[in-house]
């Protein structure tokens, strides 16, 4: 009874309140929406458009020459881009693959200690919050064939010093190693969060039923980690495809000009795009590269979401 009497007067005034509230709703959403349209959605559409033109960024827009799909053809047949594409894919597959397994292992190990876990977790956290460029600088120095610490240790152990980043064979592996180092912490932290969300009761019940450690792992832990697993793999794949800072730090400046390592063995797509756009001022091919990588990223993400969707 009391409820109805309170409601009645509100209902009569409802249309006017609703209208003014709607207005506020729009207003509050405005800054973010406008911003996203201007700085995100607009630009990607502009990128599509530029990719079918020829443009050097400096001349005014109306002077752009329409060239159809020629940019895409040029890009697809360019040796540099092909190397970049191959390297980027290899980097992504190997890097994400290694980290997925390694991160899980470390997280499982870390899940057992209580008091010191925070300390170790902090150590894994460090590379995550260091500028990737700085990591590239630090590792380039570590891996330097002449004065790097790693070769110093190797020579003290009477092993042959390795060229690492200077060799077409080892350069990409070195970059992958750096990326594994950098991001394993993220996997560990996220897996840990996921592991902590698994109720202890499940394990107890399994133990009562006579399940061993391995069976617990396989039938309880892994399936329940699936949403977390999906999240990590998807976000890190997207990130890995966009690798730039580390490769830039490791392979440009000094004696090299366009970067990409010896014989383009560490050239990656974003670096190629950067060179094409801001060294050679060819916006058409550069945006074509961006569109190609964007499309690939979308496809891979959708495929992953499909394949790894948790069936719970």
């Amino acid at each position: 009874m009391a409820v109805e009497t309170i409601r009645a007067p509100v209902a009569r005034r409802a249309p006017r309140i609703a209208a003014s509230r709607m207005l506020w709703g729009y207003l509050f959403a405005c800054p973010a929406i406008l911003g996203i349209m201007v700085f995100s959605l607009g630009p990607i559409l502009f990128a599509f458009w530029v990719s079918v033109h020829q443009w050097n960024l400096i001349s005014p827009i109306p002077d752009m020459v329409f060239v159809g799909l020629r940019n895409y053809v040029d890009v697809a047949t360019s040796d540099v881009f092909r190397a970049a594409f191959r390297n980027t894919v290899e980097f992504t597959v190997v890097g994400v693959g290694i980290n997925t397994v390694l991160g899980l292992l470390l997280a499982l190990l870390l899940n057992q200690r209580l008091r010191v876990r925070a300390f170790w977790r902090t150590l894994f956290f460090l590379p995550l919050v260091t500028p990737p460029l700085a990591l590239g600088i630090m590792w380039t120095s570590l891996l330097d064939r002449n004065y790097g610490a790693i070769n110093a240790v190797l020579s003290r152990l009477h092993l042959a010093p390795q060229p690492f980043l200077a060799s077409p064979d080892q350069a990409l592996a070195s970059i992958i190693a750096i990326a594994v180092y950098q991001y394993v912490g993220m996997y560990v932290i996220i897996y840990l969060a996921g592991l902590q969300g698994i109720p202890q009761d499940y394990y107890d019940a399994a133990a009562v039923d006579g399940a061993g450690s391995w069976q617990s792992l396989r039938y309880i832990t892994l399936p329940l980690l699936r949403p977390v697993f999906l999240f990590i793999v998807v976000t890190n794949t997207i990130g890995a495809l966009q690798v730039f800072d580390v490769v830039f730090a490791a392979t440009t400046g000094g004696a090299q000009t366009s970067g990409g390592g010896p014989a383009n063995s560490t050239m990656v797509v974003v670096l190629d795009m950067y060179n094409t756009a801001f060294k050679f001022f060819e916006m058409g091919p550069a945006t074509a590269m961006a569109v190609i990588l964007f499309a690939i990223t979308l496809l891979v993400t959708l495929a992953q979401l499909r394949l790894l969707r948790p069936r719970m």
Partner: protein, 294 residues
């Protein structure tokens, strides 16, 4: 946050009640993690060690691992090569500015999506989500042109503004605010408070955790960002820390003074790291907030 005691679910749970064996086993269990953890530290340790070497030590053959005498003056020299203090200032301004912007616009918009109904709201939300699919590098070239049109090249505006509007932030705030109690809002409205006031005085104070997490993520991402500042900044006194490190890297390679390069990198990296380590809590929480909700 560690609350209840979780027994080890798998792998290495072997109860040994015998004293010494238990201790040995405890050490053995620590070992892989300890090793991995130390591996994380290696590049940083090398950076500090190399930064204290003389030029001869660092280019010597065989290369040295530790300096004979710590050359602390390397640190003083480096500040003469690259304006690190100015770069710190720039990084702080840019990161803080972007963070404040993101927090404000994202929470406003998230609040609107979560607690208001109006035609087109869901379509706008879908629009926001779709912007999440756009990777940064894809829009870098058009953004550069756009920023150039605004005359923001080489300015704080150019560095900050494009990063303020984050679909990710809106998504996160909306998810969080969906669970905000409606009673509080209704009570405030009945008391006659205006909508902006409700947002500012009722909603915001209670979204602390979400704001802290989003803020931490944004701040660190802006601080470490490289590609965008690389394009926008053209004068040395507008460089952010990663750019300053890059200049130093190029200088170090050309002038063969890798020890100075390491000193500069150490100066550029370590102070921020100390700060970020304190933010670690917000990261874990944030990752849980977003990741496990799929």
């Amino acid at each position: 946050m560690e609350t209840s005691i979780r027994k080890p679910p798998a792998l290495l749970s072997s109860p040994r009640s015998n004293g010494i064996q238990a201790k040995l086993w405890a050490v053995a269990r620590h070992l892989p993690v300890a090793l991995a953890g130390l591996c994380m530290l290696v590049p940083f340790l090398w950076m500090v060690s190399a930064s204290l070497m003389t030029p001869q030590e660092i280019t010597g053959s065989p290369p040295s691992l530790l300096p004979a005498h710590a050359q602390w003056q390397n640190y003083a020299h480096v500040t003469g090569v690259v304006p690190l203090f100015r770069s710190y200032l720039n990084s702080i301004v840019v990161s803080a500015g972007a963070t404040v912007g993101v927090l404000l616009t994202s929470s406003l918009c998230g609040y609107s999506f979560a607690k208001f109904t109006y035609p087109g709201r869901d379509a706008l939300f879908v629009l926001t989500i779709s912007s999440l699919m756009i990777p940064p590098f894809a829009v870098v070239i058009p953004l550069f042109w756009l920023v150039k049109q605004f005359g923001w090249i080489d300015t704080y505006m150019g560095l900050i503004v494009p990063s303020i509007f984050s679909g990710y932030g809106v998504f996160m705030m909306r998810q969080f605010l969906l669970t905000f109690p409606n009673d509080l809002l209704d009570a405030a409205r009945i008391d006659g408070a205006s909508e902006p006031r409700i947002f500012w005085q009722v909603v915001m104070p209670l979204t602390g955790p979400a704001l802290a997490t989003l803020g931490a993520f944004t701040f660190v991402a802006m601080w470490n960002g490289f590609l965008w500042p690389l394009l926008i900044v053209q004068s040395q006194d507008m460089q952010t820390i990663p750019l300053a490190l890059n200049s130093l890297r190029v200088y170090g390679a050309e002038a063969q003074s890798h020890n100075l390069q390491m000193a500069g990198t150490a100066l550029g990296v370590i102070p921020a790291l100390v700060l970020f380590v304190f933010l670690q809590r917000y990261f874990s929480r944030g990752i849980v907030l977003t990741g496990l909700q799929g």
